[in-house]
Structure formats: structure tokens, C-alpha cells
Amino acid sequence: MIDQIRSLLEQHPMIPLNFGVLADDANLYDAGLTSFASVQMMLALEEEFDIEFPEAMLTRRTFSSLANIADAVSQLTRKAA
């Protein structure tokens, strides 16, 4: 799951972060993730995994690391299954 997310985000033209060198638990905001880019990230994840993040999950913490993102995505894909 994390690898799929990493490669999805790495290819995204509007998220200028080098995901290849970031550890699963590295803080993406510290690595330069802006609010705008985090919104692009949310939209890309929703499209890739056919999910919709509920409002309660639209927080800074949900998108703060690849591990947190994978947690959130797997919660939502489990729900959908």
C-alpha cells in the first residue's frame, strides 16, 4: 500500500517532494509539503483508490506522513469493500 502511494505521489506534477528518499514516517510538512500540495495529494488519493475522505479526516495529521496516509487509505478502502 505504502509503495503504491509513494509512486502515485512521486509522479504527481503538483507535489514537488522527493518521495523516493522519504521514510514512511518522515514528516511531509517538514519536507516542504504546502497546504495547496496537500489538497492535490488528497484529490489524487481519492481518485486512485476510489475513496472519499470524510471531513473528520481532512486534517493536517492525516497527510503528515506516508504511513499516516496509508493508515487512512486502508481504513477507507476496508470500509468500501
Partner: protein, 307 residues
């Protein structure tokens, strides 16, 4: 303006009846009486006097700004629903005849207009950043500006405190994170003390901007989590939902990065602003002290009319 009833419609009607505001046929666009304008002028002088020790550079901007500047600022990413762009007719005689024909038919005709290079200014500080960036490196002590502009936001409403065209006065500090945060702290104190001097009930609270869509919900949560925006709220049309009359915003290095605002050593600048919603403050004064400014409490008049 009965002190017990607080709702938008009755306040707006009462402002019309008392000749304080004048209807234009469009919600959120109103004529202002001489008395209303005098209150705004007095309040602006009070703001300027409070900020005077800091020696800000004053710039007054028109209500229109460069569309390219608005685009580059990222405004359309966050607030596409509020933006306004000026369109004009640029055709020849043939298109003019077509336009008149379309108008005579009572149908749409505005498609014959094209976007100009002018957008309506959404906040007084938007035109500032590229102007400053073009001047070269920011000095180590930072820069301070006092700005004023009519601003536009497309949000038609019967709430007189939510106008589509309104004036904003702002102080903007460009400097290090520490400089701009201490600027904002000092205005959180000064702003509250100033409103209390005017005998208006108020509270300062954490806030967020009305970012567009679901992505906007996330931006709003981010803004709150990081404590980037505070508002000074005064009950104007509702006690439960008081109106934001002053706002205190820390932009981090958003505008610094966007416009390349840097110190001589190449370090990016941070920025913060304090905004005064002039019509909102005037409405709060009329709402709480009555329609006749001559009959306002002596203490309030002393503060406003002694400047």
C-alpha cells in the same frame, strides 16, 4: 435598532429607514450617508494614530488590481467563488450591433465582453507584495505598511455586515518569522483595547478563511491547527454568530515564496497582516450606540472625535 433584536434583515431595514445606508437594488452594494462616512473617517484616524509609533509606509490602492498578480498569488486556488474579474467590450462595429441586438432581445449579451487585465482587489494587501518584491532585498529590520483599499468579494447577502464592496484598512509586516509574529501579537492587544474603548462587546477567537470546496476544508483545518488566523468578533447581526471586524493573519512564508520576497542573505521573508473591516466596525457602532451618532455615549464620542 432595538438592542434586543439581532438579525440581518431587521438591521438592514433599520439602516435604510434611518438613512444610514441607501439601497442600490443589489444585495451587498449600498450607498453610505455622510454620518456613516464620518464614522469611518474618524475610525481610520484612530487606527492610524494607534499605528503611528511604528512608522508604517502608507499606500492607498484602487479597488482594481492586476489580474496577473491575483492569479500568481494563488487566490483562485483558495477562493475562486469570491473573485471578480473585470470584463469589457473589445469588439468592432459588427459585434456592437450584435450586442445591441442581444440586449434588445432581453437575452444574455455579456459573452461579447472579454476579460481585461484588471481583477477586483479581494484584500488590501494583495497588490502590495509584487510591488515590494520588485524593489529588491528586504532590510534586516523588515518592512511595515499601512494600506487601504475598497475590496470586492462575490457573496451577495441580506446581511449588511457582508457587503460585496467594502473598505479594508491593513497593517502588513514583512520580515522574519519572529518579527511578524510579534507584530501580530502587538495588534491582537492593541486591536482589542481599541474596540473596548469604543464600548463595543468583543472577543478574539481562532478562525479560518472560507476556503473553497472539500480541499478547502482541509486548508481551513490546517490554518486552525497552526493558529494562523485570529478574528476580533463583535455581535452585529447575531449574538450566536458575531461578526469578524478585525482579523490577524500570519501567512508564514506563503507570500515570501510566491513573490520571492527575500532578505539580502537570500532568506525568505514571512508576512503577517492585521485587517480592519471599516464598514463592519461602523455598523457595530451604529448597532450598539444607536442611529444618531451625535447621541452616542460621550466616552465613545470622545475617543472618535478627539482624533
Amino acid at each position: 435598532m432595538d438592542a434586543k433584536t439581532f438579525d440581518s434583515k431587521s438591521l438592514l431595514d433599520s439602516l435604510f429607514e434611518n438613512g444610514i445606508l441607501f439601497e442600490s437594488g443589489i444585495d451587498g452594494l449600498y450607498g453610505r450617508s455622510g454620518a456613516f462616512e464620518e464614522v469611518i473617517e474618524r475610525f481610520e484616524r484612530l487606527v492610524t494614530r494607534l499605528g503611528a509609533p511604528d512608522k508604517a509606509t502608507r499606500i492607498h490602492f484602487p479597488p482594481g488590481m492586476s489580474r496577473a498578480t491575483l492569479e500568481k498569488s494563488g487566490y483562485m486556488k483558495s477562493f475562486p467563488q469570491l473573485a471578480g474579474c473585470v470584463h469589457s467590450f473589445m469588439g468592432g462595429e459588427r459585434e456592437h450591433a450584435q450586442l445591441l441586438g442581444m440586449m434588445a432581445d432581453g437575452g444574455g449579451w455579456t459573452e461579447l465582453q472579454k476579460a481585461t487585465d484588471v481583477a477586483l482587489t479581494p484584500a488590501a494587501c494583495y497588490p502590495l507584495y509584487p510591488t515590494i518584491a520588485a524593489r529588491g532585498p528586504v532590510p534586516a529590520q523588515g518592512l511595515l505598511f499601512e494600506l487601504s483599499s475598497y475590496c470586492f468579494r462575490h457573496e451577495p447577502s441580506k446581511d449588511p455586515a457582508r457587503m460585496q464592496l467594502f473598505r479594508m484598512r491593513e497593517f502588513v509586516k514583512i520580515g522574519t518569522a519572529e518579527q511578524v509574529r510579534s507584530f501580530r501579537e502587538s495588534w491582537l492587544k492593541r486591536g482589542k483595547a481599541m474596540i473596548e474603548q469604543l464600548d463595543l462587546p468583543c472577543e478574539v477567537d481562532l478562525a479560518n478563511d472560507p476556503f473553497f470546496g472539500r480541499g478547502g476544508k482541509m486548508m481551513a483545518n490546517n490554518q486552525r491547527d497552526q493558529g494562523l488566523k485570529f478574528e476580533l468578533l463583535i455581535p452585529v447581526t447575531s449574538i450566536e454568530k458575531p461578526t469578524a471586524c478585525l482579523s490577524f493573519n500570519y501567512h508564514q512564508d506563503h507570500f515570501g515564496r510566491t513573490w520571492g520576497l527575500k532578505f539580502a542573505d537570500g532568506e525568505l521573508c514571512h508576512s503577517a497582516c492585521v485587517g480592519f473591516g471599516l464598514e463592519r466596525v461602523a455598523l457595530a457602532l451604529f448597532r450598539h450606540h444607536g442611529p444618531d451618532a451625535d447621541a452616542w455615549p460621550a466616552a465613545v464620542r470622545d475617543v472618535l472625535w478627539s482624533v
